[in-house]
Amino acid sequence: MSKVTRRNFLKLSTGALFLSGMAGFTGCVESRRPGNLTTLIDCNLCDGCVDLDAPLCVAACRQRAIERIPDPVEPIPQPFPRGEIEDWSNRKDVLDRLTPYTHLYIQRVDIIDGDGGERTIYVPRRCMHCDNPPCATICPFTANHKHSNGAVVINSDMCFGGAKCRDVCPWEIPQRQSGIGIYLDLVPTLAGNGVMFKCDLCYDRVRDDRLPLCVEACHRFAMVFGQKRDIEMEAIRRAAQVGGYLYGMRENGGTGTIYLSPVSFDKVNDAIDSGPGRPHMAQVERHLEKASVLESSVLLSPVIGMGAGLAAAALVAVKGRGGDGGGD
C-alpha cells in the first residue's frame, strides 16, 4: 500500500464501500512492485450503460486502441496459399464482440431463473490476464509476454500475426488486423499476416501507477483493481455476502480477472452468445498443466546426462579401458 492516490482510493475503496454496501476493502495500485495486479468485475454493479451509445469502459478502451493502431497498407497482401486476411479497419465501430479495435465489450446475458423469470446481467469481457498464459509462453517470437505486474502484453512491433495466441487461448481473445506490422518488411505473402491485438491492461498507464481506462471510466465502480491477494479476498468476501459466484480464480490455472455474478456461471455460459470474438464462460482447465512433468524432465535432463556420463566414465576407468585415447 505504498502509493494511494486520491483518485485510486476513491475508485477502489469508496466505490466498493458505498455502491456494494460493503466495508473493509482498501486495495490500491502498486504496479511498480512485482506482483500480479488483478481486476474484480462485479456483474451486480455493471448496468451495461444501456442508455449510452457505447458503454463508458468500452468507449474509453476503444478510443485508446484506435489511436494506437496504424492504418493497414492498401492493398493488404494476400497470404499464400490460403489468401485469408482479417481486416477490421473499416469496422472500428463494432461493439458487440472483440476486434482488433475493441479490446473490451459488454456481453448482455439474458438468463431464465429457476422460477421462470428472466434476468439480465452485463458482463464486460476482455483478456483474462492468466497467471500462466499459454498465449505468451507458446508465442514463437515472444511477442507476447506476461510482465512482472501481471499484465499480458502483445508487443505489436514483434508480432507477425500468426494468430497462434488466439488458437491456444481458452477464450480465443486476441484478434488480428492484417496489413500492419513487421511481417510487411519481410516476406508478407509467405509468412505472417498482421498483428494480434487484445487488452494490455493499459500497461503504460498501470506502469505509472494509474488505473486502466476501463476501471477509471466506470461510473458505477463495477471494476475494482489492485494486488491479486487483496482482490481475491475482496471477491470471496463479496461473493459470500451476496451468495454470488466467482469466475476466473481457478480457470486456466488462475487469472488476473475475476467475475462476480449473482447467478452461477454454468447458467451464464448456457445463456451466453459465444463464438468468434465472443468468449464463453465455461470452466477451463490449464492445458499446459499436462506438460509440467515433461517440462520438469527437460530442466533435469542436464543433470541426468551429466550423472550418466560420470557413471559411464567411472565404469570405463575402473575396467581400465579408456577407449583408443586418441580420438573419440
Binding site: P34, P79, P81, R82, D131, N132, P133, A136, T137, I138, P140, F141, T142, H145, K146, H147, S148, G150, M158, G162, A163, K164, D167, V168, A191, H287, L288, K290, A291, S292, L294, E295, S296, S297, V298, L299, S301, P302, V303, I304, G305, M306, A308, G309, L310, A312, A313, V316, A317, G322, G323, D324, G325, G326, G327, D328
Partner: protein, 205 residues
C-alpha cells in the same frame, strides 16, 4: 557408445527441428494439417509435448557426451593449432587443386565443424532451458531475457539446420563415402584407412 550418442542426438535433433518448425503457425496455413495422419500437426500443445520429449533426449545425450568423453580425455575432435590452414588444403584437394595430406582419425575440417556444432548446440540448449523455465516455473521473467532466449533459440535453430545440411552433404563427396558404412556400424574398411588415415593407423599400430 559413440554410435548410440550420434544417433540419439541426430534423431532427437531432427524431431526438434521438425516440431520447432511446426510451432510456427505454418502447419494449417500450408495444409500440412490436412495430410492424413498428420492432422495433429496443427495442435500446438501436442507439438510442444513432442518437442519437450525430444529435448529430454537431446540435452541428456549432449551432457553425457561432454562429461563421458571429457573425463576420459577423448580429445581427438577438439580443434588443434593449424587446423584452419590444413582444412583449406583438404578442401582444395577435394576439388583437385592440391594433394590430400595423410590424416589422423579425424580430418581438420571435422574438428572445426565439431567445435562449431558444439557451440550451436550449447546455445540451443541454454536458450531452450531458459524458455522451459519461463514456461514451467516463472512466466514473468524479465522481458528482455525471455525475448533474447527466444531469438537466440530461433537463430541457432536455423544454424543447426544449415550445419545439418552441410554435415549430410559432406557424405555425398566421393572420398567421404566409405564413412557411410561407419555411421551405421561403427566400422570403416581397412583399405580406406590405409589410403586416407595413415597417421591414425600409425598411432593405433
Amino acid at each position: 557408445m559413440e554410435l548410440v550418442e550420434h544417433w540419439v542426438l541426430a534423431l532427437s535433433g531432427l524431431i526438434l527441428l521438425a516440431s520447432g518448425l511446426l510451432e510456427l503457425p505454418l502447419g494449417r496455413r500450408y495444409y500440412v494439417t490436412e495430410i492424413p495422419s498428420v492432422t495433429w500437426a496443427g495442435d500446438f500443445f501436442v507439438v510442444l509435448y513432442i518437442h519437450y520429449a525430444a529435448a529430454i533426449l537431446f540435452v541428456a545425450v549432449a551432457f553425457f557426451h561432454l562429461f563421458y568423453h571429457g573425463l576420459l580425455g577423448h580429445n581427438g575432435l577438439i580443434p588443434r593449432r593449424g587446423d584452419l590452414k590444413a582444412a583449406i588444403v583438404v578442401i582444395k584437394s577435394l576439388i583437385g587443386k592440391a594433394e590430400e595430406p595423410p590424416f589422423h582419425k579425424y580430418l581438420p575440417e571435422q574438428r572445426i565443424a565439431y567445435a562449431g556444432m558444439a557451440f550451436i548446440i550449447a546455445m540451443l540448449i541454454f536458450s531452450g532451458l531458459v524458455k522451459t523455465y519461463d514456461n514451467l516455473v516463472n512466466p514473468q521473467l524479465p522481458y528482455i531475457l525471455a525475448l533474447t532466449a527466444t531469438w537466440v533459440h530461433n537463430v541457432f535453430s536455423l544454424f543447426f539446420f544449415l550445419t545439418f545440411l552441410v554435415h549430410v552433404t559432406a557424405l555425398a563427396i566421393r572420398p567421404n563415402r566409405p564413412l557411410i558404412r561407419g555411421i551405421f556400424t561403427g566400422f570403416v574398411r581397412l583399405d580406406y584407412v590405409h589410403d586416407r588415415h595413415k597417421l591414425w593407423l600409425n598411432d593405433i599400430s
